[in-house]
Symmetry: C2
Subunit: 148 residues, 2 copies
């Protein structure tokens, strides 16, 4: 990954995030982990990803502090490793929701395969939005990005 080093030390925090998240599959592995999946075989089956690519992406995510390895042993089997999200990994929830929202709106699909984001205590859907200092939810055309 020839561009990883410049991205990792960029002035831009978006670039620094992409240094670890910018490879294909990486964010989809995180999506699976946010859904509670932890095991290599689950990731592989759900994503339809080649095992060598999956192993590479899991290592990237462990090295990047997004997943951590944890040993487990099922009855009568040898010890294996599973992958669980760190706090940094869980903090990717808004990034995945934002990319998913964009895909739903601008890459519509007849299939109903999207992730839902819910308030844990109520199970009711929540939405990602820009909020101003008064706590008012803003429409996208009320917001601008400016270089800091």
């Amino acid at each position: 990954m020839t561009t990883a080093a410049p991205f990792a030390t960029s002035h831009c925090p978006i670039a620094r995030s992409l240094a670890v998240l910018g490879e294909k599959w990486t964010l989809l592995v995180v999506r699976e982990a946010l859904w509670g999946r932890t095991r290599f075989a689950e990731f592989r089956a759900n994503l339809g990803i080649a095992p060598d690519v999956l192993a590479d992406r899991l290592q990237t995510l462990v090295d990047g502090g997004i997943l951590q390895r944890r040993a487990y042993r099922e009855e009568g089997q040898r010890e294996r490793e599973e992958y669980v999200l760190t706090d940094a990994g869980r903090d990717l929830l808004p990034a995945l929701a934002a990319l998913g929202d964009w895909g739903i709106q601008h890459r519509p699909s007849p299939s109903r395969g999207s992730s839902a984001y819910v308030e844990i205590t109520t199970g009711r859907p929540v939405q990602l939005a820009f909020v101003n200092e008064s706590g008012r939810r803003l429409a996208l055309d009320e917001v601008a990005a400016v270089p800091a």
Copy 2:
């Protein structure tokens, strides 16, 4: 890009978004465009990107309906093309803000190079957050992702 086709037709809207946005540099070109930059030379100088890679990413973004080409001519020069965001491109604001927030928090840097997101009418900073149906802003640990 061997994985583009499966991503583009995935059941998962995150994957469909990444079909066009998942290559290195693409989202950083969008960041520049959100900051109001439109010209090849500006993108190239600000990003430090190789011209052939930039040309490829601009084409991807035009093909993906995120940028559109527009002709312009400066006094005494030949006509050239610049690149402006479509509505779909502008709708990437939350995805960039989310990735930037994660980078600021989990890939801190001594440099102050981040983008700010502001309410246009006031110039005051805004924040990206999950909001429930009552309009209450939620903490991240109040939200879960579940397969739909």
